[in-house]
Symmetry: C2
Subunit: 145 residues, 2 copies
């Protein structure tokens, strides 16, 4: 009769509900897939892993947009103009080490948020965010001569 700790998908769905969103099969599946991924993924990778007979890419994009709106996921803009998506803990955000060849991304424990905030405010800016990603060639891709 007590409510569970809710570190699960229910927390996220409840957040969407609170914002007036409906809980659909596709939406549940997309959130599940995001939870399964260990690395940031592209919209198309998410669609592929979803495996519901037909999940249109546009549906994935719309759900990702909605999820970002409530702070459940983070969008990672890559050098090449594309983006990856990653589930984030409440109030958190992450930075990554990304392979330029295979686009695999692993989380980096490093943030310049504090330094940046002061500077940006001093320049008269508001609503400050930052992007920081490290690029290189991973061991695997490097050995593939």
């Amino acid at each position: 009769m007590n409510s569970a700790p809710d570190s699960s998908i229910e927390t996220i769905l409840e957040r969407m509900r609170a914002g007036g969103g409906r809980i659909t099969k596709k939406r549940i599946r997309i959130v599940q897939v995001l939870m399964q991924f260990e690395h940031p993924a592209s919209a198309d990778e998410i669609r592929q892993k979803a495996e519901l007979p037909e999940t249109d890419l546009v549906t994935v994009y719309r759900n990702l947009e909605a999820l970002q709106g409530i702070g459940v996921i983070q969008r990672i803009p890559l050098e090449n103009g594309t983006q990856l998506f990653e589930l984030t803990a409440p109030g958190e955000h992450y930075h990554h080490l990304i392979c330029r060849e295979c686009h695999q991304a692993e989380r980096l424990d490093l943030c310049i948020g504090k330094e940046v905030l002061g500077r940006a405010k001093a320049h008269g800016y508001s609503q400050i965010t930052h992007v920081m990603e490290v690029y290189g060639v991973c061991k695997d891709c490097d050995s593939d001569s």
Copy 2:
């Protein structure tokens, strides 16, 4: 009869020549425009400022690509998937404070290069670079309610 300090356009053109490149009117003009800009600019902004009767956008892109190849300019990938270009001193690179509304970008004196390099190497990565850009809304755009 002595060679000038060469902090001018000649240094850059010489670098292109050294790489087997030709010195064309369009190319000179594009470099001039890059030198005139005080802020990072998009390919199309560069084309517009060039003002040669007809400079095709594709020519601007190709020259920017070549200039980046010899380290004369830096490419700044934005959150929205587009990119800006900026002349950089030899061996240097810069980070910026960018307005999400008007896309104006000013240079920030802040770099995490050192911290990043060690981490990335520890993960087995090579050819390491990093992107770091701060976003916000500038005073002008903020007052435009």
